[in-house]
């Protein structure tokens, strides 16, 4: 049975449809990549799953998580799932962390809100362990630091630690490495892979970087203007793209160890 099944998901802002009848499936422990250029509705999809769409968004369709339809779930019950069984990692780790609280507090907060009767001290211990798990050195000391005292890569680790602290069944990562350097990006991707190995969590990886997706995902969803253009196993998408848009997208990717020449572009000109 699949962990998450999205069916005919539509998100509208008034008359503007930003996600249009999207559907995909993700098995337990699986990993799904969503790619597409900017504005194609990737983030909206992930937020719809989290039930965190911005005000004014109208969401229809089925989002079935472990047999529960999240779209019709009460806010109360949704809250219990959010952060506990489904965790999310956002693109910009600096703005996604509250500057006023130590990272330890923010990690512990996620844990405590889903585990009743956990003492502060115990939660802090959980936070330190989570930070150790994401390879933050001297976690016991840095747990009391504020986000601005961390580098970009470390902040993203904190975000991951926060997501991991409750041992979720599904992690949604919305462009978790876009703001980072290649070397740091590689570390974070490794870390995510390691974590999934350890906990068996499923992953939705949202990115516009096709190479990243090819390394991380089992299944890929290609989006354009809120529509799914193509869905398939990663191997199929990358070795045998069916849709011209997917093909063009792949052609446009500059390659580090491949032929040099004119990059193929979408529709040319302006």
């Amino acid at each position: 049975m699949s962990l998450l099944r999205v069916n005919d998901l539509t998100v509208k802002f008034g008359d503007v449809t930003v996600v249009d009848g999207l559907g995909f499936e993700l098995p337990k422990g699986g990993s799904l990549g969503i790619v597409g250029e900017s504005g194609s509705g990737k983030s909206m999809t992930s937020l719809a799953v989290m039930g965190l769409l911005p005000k004014g968004a109208l969401c229809t369709g089925e989002i079935s998580f472990d047999g529960i339809d999240l779209n019709t779930l009460s806010e109360r019950r949704m809250r219990e799932i959010r952060g506990d069984r489904i965790a999310m990692i956002f693109q910009d780790p600096l703005s996604s962390l509250n500057p006023y609280y130590t990272v330890g507090t923010q990690i512990a907060e996620a844990y405590r809100s889903h585990r009743s009767g956990v003492s502060r001290r115990a939660a802090r211990q959980v936070a330190i362990e989570a930070m150790e798990r994401v390879h933050i050195k001297e976690a016991g000391r840095r747990v009391d630091d504020y986000p601005h005292q961390f580098s970009g890569g470390m902040r993203q680790r904190v975000m991951i630690a926060m997501a991991l602290s409750t041992e979720p069944e599904l992690i949604i990562a919305d462009e978790p490495t876009t703001a980072l350097d290649v070397t740091v990006q590689a570390q974070i991707l490794d870390l995510l892979a390691e974590v999934r190995r350890d906990t068996g969590a499923a992953l939705i990886m949202i990115t516009h970087d096709l190479a990243v997706v090819s390394e991380v995902a089992d299944t890929v969803v290609v989006m354009r203007y809120g529509d799914v253009v193509e869905t398939g196993s990663t191997e199929q998408i990358f070795s045998d793209p069916r849709h011209p848009y997917t093909q063009a997208l792949l052609d446009a990717v500059p390659r580090i160890d491949d032929e040099i020449g004119d990059l193929r572009t979408l529709g040319g000109g302006s």
């Binding site: 989290m50 965190l52 809250r79 219990e80 799932i81 959010r82 952060g83 506990d84 965790a87 999310m88 956002f90 910009d92 703005s95 996604s96 962390l97 509250n98 500057p99 006023y100 609280y101 907060e109 996620a110 809100s113 889903h114 504020y146 601005h148 005292q149 975000m159 926060m162």
Partner: protein
Amino acid sequence: MTRYLVNRVLGMLLVLFLVALFTYMVFFLLSPDPAVQICGKTCTPERIDQIRANLGLDDPFPVQFLHFLEGLFLGRDYGTGASAVHCSAPCLGYSFQSAQVVTDMIVQRLPVTAVVAIGAAVLWLLAGVIGGLLSAVREGRFTDRFITALTLGGMSVPNYVLALALQYVFVVQLQWLPFPQAVPFADDPGQWFLNFILPWTVLAIGYASSYTRLTRANVIDTLSENFVRTARAKGLRPHLVWRRHALRPALTPIVTIAGMDFAGLLGGALITETVFGINGVGKLAADSITKNDQPVIMAVTLLAAFFVVVGNMVVDLLYSAIDPRVRAGATT
């Protein structure tokens, strides 16, 4: 941090010194001769000369200013012989018109002004924050538009107009409230409260309006911050999301602005105290201005400047205490 503090305090002292110098200079140039004031209605030139000499008023400006500074730090005597008046440090001057040490005049009135100011501050902070929150929560709805209209009104009606209007309605017509008087709290807490309601309201209303707007804007801004989304993604209870993640960042700047406004309140107290005849420092300033009692005006000006400068510094320190980003950076 220590170096920052030292730099800050030095800078503050410099500003204060310049303010004192400038104020003294302006009043030295503009001031009617205090000797003439002392001399009274029937005065002879000889007597004026005598008074000038006795009080050191014939010294050149720098000397007089030095004496003033000396009084500020060491205290000084005004006059000569048995009629001399000692003014101990920090001596802000001597009012020749009322034959009193200015420091005493101010100290006597400060408690009343403090009551007016603190009460007003509490009122405007409460009203501003609650109104702003309500407005933000109901953004775009009737409540929001209603509160916004109220705040615009609150900022448009000059406070003296408001003071008179409120007094007319609640005191003269309805007789719900007494004509405001500075009843000491110890005498009768109930009366104290009733008497101060109008001054508090009048002083607070402008601030309350702008704080409402500020709170609203800040809260709306903060709610769209990514970290609030993170907090919700963690599955935090809404009240926690609000209290910890939305309110604290939204209200921090308001706390610091409040600090500055509070420090600058003496100016606002002037009109309120004058209109209601509350004998605080503001009224003292207004009265001294009508009487042209320059030493008092100057002292109040200096005092107010002191509050503003110190208030700014306290706010800076406060800010670095509550905002960890500033704390670590310790930059201006």
